[in-house]
C-alpha cells in the first residue's frame, strides 16, 4: 500500500520580522498510509495546524522532509500535483468559498486545471452528490448555514479528485447538528470514496472511530496509537493536556472506584454495561 504522507525529521520555524526563529515543529516523523483515517490531537500551539500546512506545501520544511504520495514538497515541479492530491478543508468555510453560486464555487478548482467543460460538469455532479447538496447547485453560498457551507467547501475539494484530505478543525465553528453531519460525511469519504483522511480536531469524540491517533505536544509527536491505547492512558492525556472522551472518562472513573466496568469509548456500550451491574 502506498504511503500518502511521509514526514521525516520534519522541522518548521516561523521567522519573525527581527529574524527570530520560533519552531512550531521540532522534528516530527509521521507516516500515513493510503486509505487510513488518522486524527491528530494536541493542545493549541502543539504544531497540528503547522503540520497540516506542510502536507500540501502551503508551508515548506525548515529542515527534514515532507513527501506526499511520493512527491517531495520542496520540489517546485511537484507543486500542482501535490495540491491536486492533497486537499485541505479549514475551520471557517467563509474563507474558502470564492464564488457567488454554489456550482461556480465548486468549478473553481477544475476550471483552473484547464479541464474540458464536460469533465468539469461531471466533477460538479460527483462532488455535489457526494456531499448531498445537489439541491443547492444554483444557490448563493453565503445564504447557506455553516454546515452547508462547509459541505460546499468539501465539494470544492472533492472536485479536484484528491487522494487525501486534511481537515483542520473543520467542525469548530458549526452547531451540534452541523458538526455531526460533517463528521459523518468525513467518515463516508474515507469508507466509500477511499480517501485518506487526516483529521485535526479538539473534539475527542470525533476521533474515537479513527484508525490511529497521533498526539502532539510542543512540536513533537508524543505518542501514536489506536484510540483505545490513547484515551485510557491518563498519564499520557495529562501530559498532552487532553481530556478523554466522555465514555472513556466515566468508565475509568467508575473502574477506579471499584465498580466492575470495562474501559469503554462508546457511550451506548457503557450504558449497556452499567445497566448490567447489580
Amino acid at each position: 500500500m502506498q504511503t500518502m504522507i511521509d514526514a521525516s525529521k520534519l522541522k518548521f520555524a516561523y521567522v519573525s520580522e527581527d529574524g527570530d526563529y520560533t519552531f512550531a515543529l521540532n522534528g516530527v516523523d509521521i507516516q500515513v498510509a493510503q486509505g487510513e483515517f488518522v486524527a491528530i490531537l494536541g493542545r493549541n500551539g502543539s504544531g497540528k495546524s503547522t503540520f497540516a500546512k506542510l502536507v500540501n506545501a502551503l508551508n515548506l520544511p525548515t529542515e527534514g522532509k515532507m513527501v506526499v504520495a511520493g512527491m517531495d514538497t520542496t520540489d517546485e515541479a511537484n507543486l500542482l500535483d501535490i495540491r491536486k492530491t492533497a486537499g485541505m478543508v479549514f475551520q471557517n468555510p467563509d474563507n474558502q468559498l470564492v464564488a457567488t453560486i454554489v456550482e461556480e464555487d465548486i468549478a473553481f478548482g477544475p476550471e483552473n486545471l484547464g479541464l474540458p467543460r464536460e469533465e468539469i460538469y461531471d466533477r460538479i455532479d460527483y462532488a455535489l452528490s457526494t456531499v448531498h447538496m445537489e439541491a443547492y447547485r444554483g444557490h448563493a453560498p453565503h445564504m447557506l448555514s455553516g454546515g452547508q457551507k462547509q459541505r460546499i467547501a468539501i465539494a470544492g475539494v472533492l472536485a479536484m479528485k484528491p487522494k487525501l484530505i486534511v481537515f483542520d478543525e473543520s467542525t469548530a465553528m458549526l452547531d451540534p447538528k452541523g458538526r455531526q453531519d460533517i463528521l459523518e460525511l468525513i467518515r463516508q469519504l474515507n469508507r466509500e470514496e477511499k480517501i485518506t483522511i487526516v483529521l485535526i480536531t479538539h473534539y475527542m469524540d470525533e476521533t474515537v472511530h479513527a484508525d490511529r491517533l497521533v498526539v502532539m505536544k510542543n512540536g513533537f509527536v508524543l505518542r501514536e496509537g489506536k484510540p483505545q491505547e490513547i484515551f485510557f492512558d491518563r498519564e499520557l492525556l495529562a501530559q498532552a493536556g487532553l481530556i478523554a472522551p466522555f465514555a472513556a472518562q466515566l468508565s475509568m472513573d467508575l473502574a477506579a472506584a471499584g465498580i466492575a466496568v470495562k474501559p469503554e469509548l462508546d457511550a451506548e456500550k457503557l450504558a449497556e454495561e452499567v445497566c448490567q451491574l447489580k
Binding site: R234, L250, D253, A271
Partner: protein, 289 residues
C-alpha cells in the same frame, strides 16, 4: 448590572430582496450577576440578539434596557453602554492590531482617558486573569502567539475596560478541551467577581457545567429559558430547536431507556458520577484523579 430585552424584533435589509427577519418579539430579563448561556442552531438569531444588546445594531423594534437605561432611545448617549458592556466577538484574535501585547490590551482603557499608571495596573490584572505572564508576554508581538494565546490577549483587552457586563459570542470555539475548561473557569471567576455574563456557545457540555441560566433561540424566537437543569433535560424540545443534549444528559437518557431509574435534571458530570457510585457502591474517595 441587569439587562432587559423588551419585545425586540429585527429585520436585516428591510425593503430589499435580501430582507430577512432575524428576531421576532424577543423578551427576557437578566438580573445583575447572572451567568447566562445562549444556545441555538446557526441562523437562530443568537448573534443578532447579542449585537443588539451590545448596542452594535440599531433600528430594531422594542426596547433594550441596560441597568434600566433605555438604549433603544436614539438620543441616549451610548458611551456609557460601551464602558459598562464588554464584547468579545467570534474569533476575537482577529481584532488584535498593536505591535505588542501590552499596547494591545492597553488600547481600550487608554482611549477612555484612564491614567497611565491605572492602565498599567489594569493590563497586569487582565493578563493575570487570563493567565498570561506579564513579563514574558508584554513585549511580544500579538501576531507571534499561538491561536489560544492570541484569544487570551484579545479577551484581556476587553477585561482591561473593567466591564460590568461581559458578552461573548462563541468564545471557546477552536480552543482545545483544556483551553475550553480553563476559559469557562475564568468566566465563572469573573462572574463571581460580580460581572454579569452572557455567553453564546454551541458547546452544551460546557454550558451545562458552568452557567446559571440558559436561553434557547430558535428561528428568531426565544424558544426556551430556564436553569441548565430545566433546559438540558428536555430532550424533546431541544430536538425541536435542532440542538442536542449535553453528553452527560444523553448518557442519563440512555440509562433511562434501558429501564434504569435516573432522576431528572442529571446534566453535570460529577452529578452522574456520584449517582452511579452511590448506586453501585463505589468508593468515591479513590475516584479522584
Amino acid at each position: 448590572m441587569s439587562i432587559k430585552v423588551d419585545h425586540v424584533s429585527y429585520t436585516y435589509m428591510p425593503g430589499t430582496p435580501f430582507e430577512h427577519q432575524a428576531l421576532y418579539d424577543v423578551s427576557f430579563e437578566i438580573p445583575d450577576g447572572d451567568f447566562v448561556g445562549i444556545v441555538g442552531h446557526t441562523g437562530s438569531g443568537k448573534s443578532t440578539l447579542v449585537q443588539i444588546i451590545s448596542g452594535l445594531i440599531r433600528g430594531y423594534e422594542g426596547h433594550v434596557y441596560v441597568n434600566e437605561i433605555d438604549f433603544s432611545d436614539k438620543k441616549q448617549d451610548r458611551r456609557e453602554l460601551r464602558k459598562q458592556v464588554g464584547v468579545v466577538f467570534q474569533y476575537p484574535e482577529y481584532q488584535l492590531f498593536e505591535e505588542s501585547v501590552e499596547k494591545d490590551i492597553a488600547y481600550g482603557p487608554t482611549k477612555l482617558g484612564v491614567d497611565p499608571k491605572e492602565v498599567e495596573r489594569r493590563v497586569k490584572a487582565a493578563m493575570d486573569l487570563v493567565e498570561l505572564d506579564y513579563d514574558l508576554f508584554r513585549d511580544k508581538s500579538p501576531f507571534s502567539l499561538s491561536g489560544g494565546q492570541k484569544r487570551k490577549v484579545a479577551i484581556a483587552g476587553v477585561l482591561a475596560m473593567e466591564p460590568k457586563i461581559l458578552i461573548m459570542d462563541e468564545p471557546i470555539a477552536g480552543l482545545d478541551p483544556m483551553g475550553r475548561e480553563n476559559f469557562m473557569q475564568l468566566a465563572r471567576s469573573l462572574n463571581e467577581c460580580g460581572i454579569t455574563i452572557l455567553m453564546v456557545s454551541h458547546n452544551m457540555d460546557n454550558l451545562a457545567e458552568y452557567t446559571k441560566h440558559v436561553l434557547v433561540m430558535n428561528d428568531g424566537r426565544l424558544f426556551m429559558q430556564g436553569t441548565p437543569e430545566e433546559i438540558f433535560s428536555d430532550y424533546t424540545r431541544l430536538r425541536e430547536a435542532s440542538l442536542d443534549l449535553p453528553e452527560v444528559a444523553q448518557f442519563a437518557q440512555m440509562l433511562r431507556s434501558r429501564g434504569m431509574d435516573i432522576p431528572p435534571h442529571v446534566i453535570r458530570y460529577d452529578q452522574l458520577k456520584e449517582l452511579l457510585l452511590q448506586r453501585f457502591g463505589g468508593n468515591a474517595a479513590c475516584c479522584k484523579m
